[in-house]
């Protein structure tokens, strides 16, 4: 009777999930928008844009230094100065409406970004896009060494024949997405999206999973509960005490993998405020922060992988970039050392109170919005750590809007915040130290350097690193950056960002692991497509 009901074949909604993979994100409700260029679209926030639209290549955040895996482009070549990109488009890809995918579509996509500033979310300085048969050449106004991965792996290629008819691609919700990926949109509701496998025309072997069911949960709690009950099989969410809350519910299958990437979290110090303009003081503070506590208590032992290297670069992803001088140098809590350092620098520990050179007690306000409970917990830990060297810290919890504004205008003592992430350490160091991003106190600094760190040396090194044409020059610049970062401690790094996820092997296996980190583990990254392509039914 209900044959034409969209739910007619959903009797198995709660039955064994042999055919589908349930992916969840704690994003609140979503509305139907599949515009792959817009971060706010459901397709982006849940990540399913990457199974409908594909990038030129696959870049693995976990191994950022590795070259991209060819995807829509069968060949990717950068000029040594990273100003010219040559790609060859594979000739067996088709759009889900059956049309062939050609280099023209790639040219269209790059031109679209170039012309529509609103869609140019990476602010790419595209100069020219030219086509020669299946080859496309894109030239840039400046070196793209630090952002090549975005161009290759984070720009979805869209079909020209559809998109050129769209009046305003920037504000169109693209309700009927046509892409080159292995899945097409089957149904949409504010809670969940179902994608089904393209049974023909995909340029590779089709994936094993017939249906992808994306669900947007209201918040972390709901998402975690869904993971624990098995309603959700894959997600990226902060789970406090994931062992008890998630893994223990099905220790055989419930797993978490959270590799670090080149993007970190740390305590930005306002270097314009006395006495924190003194690098020695910052260094001393850096020495007492108990990163292990933060990792275990605040980040549940997995979420922000513990930073070990004093350069602030995470293990794994950062290994390739740690320069000679700091290889093997790791953080350790050293209260005595810090005290000694302070004493030498003219500070006095008066009982439990640290007095600065002018005899004033050193106090510091740590601030982060209340809802970020892991940050809050971290701050509580930092607070007790700082007390060890006599610094009286208080934790403030302004609301997010106020906090944002304070951070940007430099109205803070210290905040825990993230850095940009990328394929090189450049983004991390730039966010913290770039003198070009520095704004006077009171003027919003939107891109970075919130602590108003002033180091011409670092600024120059950042420029040199981004524009270098050979690895030697890059290494030199990087060494300078790391030296400044370690010695001046403009920001006290506490943890790495991760591209991990919680997943279940009950129905599907083949997930990336430490042993085989072939792709990032986060369902919203473009690498998710790679993961899905790897998944196989669990033999039960």
């Amino acid at each position: 009777a209900c044959g034409d009901s969209p739910n007619a074949n959903k009797d198995n909604a709660n039955s064994k999930g042999a055919d589908f993979l349930a992916i969840g994100m704690p994003n609140g409700t979503v509305t139907e928008s599949n515009n792959p260029f817009l971060g706010t679209a459901a397709a982006s926030s849940l990540g399913y844009r990457w199974v409908m639209y594909e990038p030129l290549g696959m870049w693995n955040n976990v191994k950022p230094a590795d070259p991209a895996k060819p995807w829509l482009a069968s060949d990717i070549k950068w000029s040594p100065d990273y100003k010219t990109l040559d790609v060859t488009i594979r000739d067996n890809a088709t759009w889900s409406d059956g049309q062939k995918l050609t280099a023209e579509d790639v040219v269209y996509t790059f031109n679209l970004i170039k012309e529509k500033e609103a869609l140019n979310i990476f602010a790419l300085p595209i100069d020219q896009v030219t086509q020669d048969g299946s080859k496309v050449k894109v030239t840039f106004k400046s070196s793209q060494f630090t952002s090549w991965h975005k161009i290759i792996s984070q720009i979805p290629i869209v079909p020209k024949h559809i998109w050129e008819k769209i009046a305003d691609p920037a504000t169109d919700p693209i309700k009927q997405p046509i892409g080159s990926g292995p899945y097409t949109l089957k149904s949409f509701s504010q809670q969940g999206i179902v994608l089904e496998r393209r049974e023909s025309g995909y340029w590779q072997d089709k994936p094993a999973i017939k249906e992808l069911r994306y669900t947007s949960y209201a918040d972390n709690n709901a998402q975690t509960t869904a993971l624990a009950t098995g309603a959700s099989e894959w997600s990226f969410v902060f789970i406090p005490d994931y062992q008890q809350v998630f893994v223990s519910k099905d220790p055989q299958n419930n797993k978490v993998w959270a590799p670090g990437v080149l993007g970190i979290h740390g305590l930005y110090i306002n270097t314009t405020r006395k006495p924190f303009d003194d690098p020695k003081l910052r260094q001393a503070m850096n020495m007492v922060i108990n990163r292990a506590d933060i990792f275990n208590q605040a980040e549940a032992g997995y979420f922000h992988p513990e930073l070990k290297s004093v350069t602030g670069l995470p293990d794994g992803a950062g290994d390739a970039y740690i320069t000679e001088a700091y290889k093997g140098k790791t953080f350790s809590v050293d209260v005595a050392g810090a005290k000694k350092l302070l004493q030498e620098a003219g500070y006095k520990l008066d009982g439990t109170t640290l007095k600065d050179k002018s005899g004033k007690a050193v106090t510091i306000k740590l601030s982060d919005p209340a809802p970020w409970s892991d940050y809050q917990t971290s701050l509580e830990i930092i607070k007790t750590n700082l007390a060890d060297i006599g610094i009286a810290a208080t934790v403030e919890k302004p609301n997010q809007n106020v906090w944002d504004q304070n951070v940007q205008t430099g109205d803070f003592d210290a905040v825990l915040r993230w850095t940009n992430g990328g394929s090189t350490p450049f983004d991390i160091y730039q966010t913290v130290m770039d003198g070009d991003l520095k704004k006077p106190i009171g003027t919003p600094a939107q891109q970075g350097n919130f602590g108003r760190f002033d180091s011409p040396e670092a600024t120059a090194a950042l420029k040199a690193y981004a524009n270098a044409t050979d690895d030697a020059a890059r290494t030199t610049a990087l060494a300078t950056l790391q030296k400044v970062f370690v010695e001046q401690a403009p920001m006290l790094p506490v943890g790495a960002d991760n591209v991990g996820g919680a997943y279940s092997t009950k129905n599907w296996i083949g997930w990336p692991t430490d042993a085989d980190p072939y792709a990032p583990m986060q369902p919203t990254q473009s690498g998710a497509l790679d993961v899905i392509m790897h998944l196989k039914p669990a033999a039960s």
Binding site: N220, N221, T224, T225, A228, I239, P240, D241, Q244, V245, Q297, P369, A370, P371, S373, Q376, T377, E380, I381, T384, T394, V395, E396, K397, P398, N399, Q400, N401, V402
Partner: protein
């Protein structure tokens, strides 16, 4: 939103029940009758305990509520009566410390809202005319705007959401219902003779309002106050729970916020989540009881009849109810001439 539990018409003390001349000795007792109301007394006692803890809580708390320890997420024990949080903080101390903020915000917001509602409601009701129209329109606008979302928005504009600021916001946005009730009440009082009598005696307008009307509005004002306190407490806790208002002070909402953020229940740390909620519920109950007390004080009809079940002479138990007066004993045989009375001297 507080739902009025008594209708507006009958909130004037000294009316209705007392319309008949009563014994003079009873007069003094009158003053204490409110307290002798069982509901009110229970409510007041519980509230008193809360207020006491609000004052001494931070001093008697066994631990610094923010202090971390190594007992992470421990269930209740002799050391930690209500267990610890994921950072090893003592939940019981947090609860004690949090009482102050809750009570403070509740009472401060209640005061602000009450003052506003009295100013606006009584003025509108007494002066009437254009003033009334303007002020009524104002309170209607505030009545229409949903308070909680508004409070959330305003609170999120605040630099640092300290307790008194939050209380201020709650107070400023939640006076309208009381103002409306007070206006209606004032209107009905204004028609009563003693107001005209005071005017005819030559009293100035402000004196009429302050000394003739206001004392008669005490019960209404008090119940409005208590209602706003309930609302303010719940709002503050809600704000803290969803992480909007977030000063550094502890309140029960903050405890719940942390507990929920750390998924206390999923981690079976019930001691972290349950007590704060119960504390709220108990405080709310106490305040509601006080309000019932006021209602009953003001409208004697609501007072529960001392004893509602009585025994008749034949041993049956009957319930007192309207329409069927209980008969305790019937003279079995008609008494033709009543000669001897059971009672002679009293």
């Amino acid at each position: 939103m507080t739902i009025p539990t008594s209708s507006i018409e009958q909130v004037i003390p000294g009316q209705g029940s007392m319309a008949q001349p009563e014994a003079t000795k009873k007069a003094k007792k009158q003053r204490f009758r409110f307290v002798s109301n069982r509901k009110a007394a229970t409510g007041l006692i519980i509230l008193g305990i809360y207020v006491l803890f609000a004052i001494i809580g931070p001093w008697v708390a066994p631990y610094d509520p923010s202090a971390r320890s190594n007992d992470l997420l421990q269930p209740p024990s002799g050391d930690h009566w209500l267990g610890t949080t994921h950072l090893g903080q003592d939940v019981f101390s947090q609860l004690l410390e949090g009482t102050r903020s809750v009570i403070f915000v509740g009472f401060f917001a209640g005061t602000v809202a009450t003052v506003l509602s009295v100013l606006i409601g009584v003025t509108a009701g007494y002066l009437g005319g254009k003033t009334d129209e303007g002020l009524s329109a104002l309170s209607n606008v505030f009545l229409v705007i949903p308070a909680l979302p508004l409070i959330i928005i305003i609170t999120s504009t605040l630099e640092n959401a300290e307790d008194w600021l939050i209380a201020m916001v709650i107070g400023l946005t939640s006076w309208s219902w009381n103002a409306r009730v007070l206006r209606a009440q004032t209107l009905s009082l204004r028609r009563r003779d003693f107001v005209d009598a005071a005017r005819a005696t030559g009293e100035k307008t402000w004196r009429v309002i302050m000394f003739e009307l206001m004392p008669n509005l005490t019960a209404v004002i008090a119940s409005g106050f208590v209602g706003t306190v309930i609302f303010a407490v719940l709002s503050e806790i809600t704000l803290a729970f969803i992480g909007v208002a977030s000063a550094d002070t502890w309140n029960w909402g903050t405890i719940l916020f942390w507990a929920q953020g750390q998924q206390a229940l999923a981690r079976e740390a019930w001691w972290w989540f349950i007590p704060a909620g119960l504390a709220i519920a108990l405080l709310g109950t106490a305040l509601s009881l006080i309000n019932f007390g006021i209602d009953e004080f003001v409208s004697p009809r609501l007072r529960s009849v001392g004893k509602t079940k009585i025994k008749t002479a034949s041993g049956n138990t009957v319930r007192m109810r309207i329409g069927f007066t209980p008969v305790l004993s019937q003279g079995a045989t008609p008494v033709a001439t009543p000669v001897i009375r059971k009672e002679t001297v009293q």
